[in-house]
């Protein structure tokens, strides 16, 4: 019982001078900006030299970029009588200033591809819905069974909005979808389905008393890991229809989506398996000894611990696949990246790739950085329980 009564504060104070007052907390490590800079950037002569050299390069580059991106930039161009942009001013400024006019002129194409122009509010709403879905899913108070329902409802709404053909919305064939909604659809539903699937595969791969399931899971993971995503996409789009009976035609986007799901699930399964292996056997035994059934044990004891352990590699894989969705370009689906590329092949805007790619990269970065930040938050929150 002794340890239960030990009060941490007096025991610390006991080592100090008699009569010292027990303090609430240790002295805060206050460190202003100057001491920090001194300690980290100018600690010695060579540290100072490197700091100055790097600082110079960085400053030169920053100034040049600022000039190019803002000072000398061309923000808009005139249009001729047919509505074709006259890019002469951009071409004269090339190399000196950015031509942001390409973004201003073509941003709706980059965002929504060849989706019927006057209906583009529909994919726009879809993008907003996706962002709202991410926001809700990120909050832990919404981690309930109802969330699954919300996902299904949002999926249905997005389907209705994108295709139309009901509620007075004109029908828009899937061939003409494009841009950011495609990327978000592929990435979101790809990962949302692949993640649970990967957990099942990882569990299957570790199951000792179901050798057939185990063999199947190993075979699946090794097969998928052994081929490039491009070839899986290609098979899904070109070879798969050959095997289907006459007249049965599964939507091209759906086929790409399935290929991405299968591919991502194999990679995620290996990450999850790593987490499962890191959970000590004592945890399995304690759960068994309490009489928990296999699925109760897995869901309540093993997975919560295993997944917490692998948040960084999981998010790493998520981010990787978010970007890998752009490979659907090779089977003729125009996602966000390929819509940008299409703009660059237009005669008027040929040659302004820096501007377009910069914007594309910025948007990708926003999504990926949000994922990274969120995962760090989760790690912190879960880590709090482990610390003493």
């Amino acid at each position: 019982m002794k340890s239960a009564q030990i009060d941490p504060v007096p025991s610390v104070a006991g080592t100090t001078a008699v009569g010292a007052v027990a303090r609430e907390r240790p002295p805060a490590a206050v460190l202003g900006p100057w001491p920090w800079i001194r300690r980290n950037l100018f600690a010695s002569w060579w540290s100072t030299a490197i700091t100055l050299a790097l600082g110079y390069v960085l400053a030169r580059w920053a100034v040049a970029f600022f000039d190019w991106a803002f000072v000398n930039a061309v923000w808009s161009v005139p249009y001729n009588a047919e509505g074709v942009p006259d890019t002469a001013s951009c071409r004269t400024a090339k190399g000196i200033g950015a031509c942001w006019a390409v973004i201003g002129d073509r941003f709706r194409f980059i965002l929504f591809g060849r989706y019927t122009y006057d209906q583009q509010w529909r994919p726009a709403v879809c993008v907003v819905l996706f962002l709202a879905l991410y926001g809700i899913s990120a909050l832990r108070q919404f981690w309930r069974r109802e969330l699954l329902l919300i996902w299904l409802v949002v999926l249905a709404i997005i389907g209705i909005l994108m295709w139309g053909g009901v509620f007075g919305l004109p029908y828009v064939p899937q061939d003409s979808w494009g841009g950011l909604p495609i990327t978000l659809i592929l990435a979101t539903f790809g990962l949302a389905v692949a993640f649970p699937l990967s957990i099942l595969v990882a569990l299957g791969r570790r199951s000792r008393n179901l050798p057939a399931v185990r063999a199947l899971c190993i075979g699946y993971v090794e097969l998928i890991r052994g081929v490039p995503l491009i070839s899986v996409l290609f098979m899904a789009s070109v070879m798969f229809p050959l095997f289907m009976p006459e007249g049965v035609n599964i939507d091209k986007l759906l086929r790409a989506q399935i290929a991405i799901i299968l591919f991502a699930a194999a990679y995620l399964a290996e990450v999850v398996r790593g987490g499962l292996q890191a959970v000590p056997t004592g945890q399995y035994e304690a759960a068994d000894a309490l009489g928990l059934r296999y699925w109760q044990k897995t869901r309540l004891i093993i997975l919560p611990q295993a997944l917490r352990l692998v948040i960084p590699p999981l998010v790493n894989t998520f981010i990787g696949f978010f970007k890998d969705t752009s490979l659907v370009l090779i089977i003729g689906i125009f996602d966000f990246l390929s819509a940008g590329k299409l703009v660059l092949s237009e005669p008027a805007w040929q040659g302004f790739s820096s501007e377009v790619y910069l914007i594309l990269a910025f948007v990708y970065f926003c999504f990926c950085y949000a994922m990274a930040r969120y995962s760090r938050g989760l790690e912190r929150e879960f880590g709090a329980a482990k610390r003493r």
Binding site: S3, A287, A289, L290, Q305
Partner: protein, 265 residues
Amino acid sequence: MSEAGAIPGQSAQTSPSGAGQPAIVLDRVNKWYGAIHVLRDISTSIAQGERVVVCGPSGSGKSTMIRCINRLERHEEGRIIVDGIELTDDLRALDQIRREVGMVFQQFNLFPHLTILENCTLAPVWVRKMPKKEAEELAMSYLRRVRIPEQAHKYPAQLSGGQQQRVAIARALCMRPKIMLFDEPTSALDPEMIKEVLDTMIELAETGMTMVCVTHEMGFARQVADCVIFMDRGEIVERGTPAQIFEDPRTERLKLFLSQILRGH
């Protein structure tokens, strides 16, 4: 302390439930790990309410034996009957047995992602289907019994080793088991924490719980055990009252073992 169980097998007549049926029967149990024969023809019977201490040198198969009782390990030959139910591959029987048998491990094995209270209510809620409120009241009553109710909302890592082990005992008790298995519950603890855990176990023994305890705490064995089983190289070498085992060892192996642990202490 122990009028019952002076002679193994007779203790069943004095067991509190009076059913006369032994709590645990092991009948010529054999087990191998690969080529190692870890349990050799283990036969013994433990009466209801009996407190059994299992001791023996390292690697003698003590853990393996008690882990066979709730099938954390599978025995390969022989029969194990717990509370009248034989352990087979039948999952329903296994579920039933695990509900009646609580276990405390050397490494505590608390669930680190759950609070102390959640650790204790988990099995009653999911296995016994107890309403959450009721399970929480039950858990608090056991946490009070092991004298740490004030830690209920902390996480295991925030507790000392001795406190964690007492939580582990409370967690097992929340299932209201008929039998408790302890596998070296104090071996991972600092000396000053051993006593608090042993005190908890002594209190538990006084309630009449059937207990099987692997331990080298000879003081504890003398105080609470009805019977001591000495194992060596996968066999039960001697079984008797603490007095018989510690003061009057009959085999050379037990004499050697006792001289070693006495030197160690």
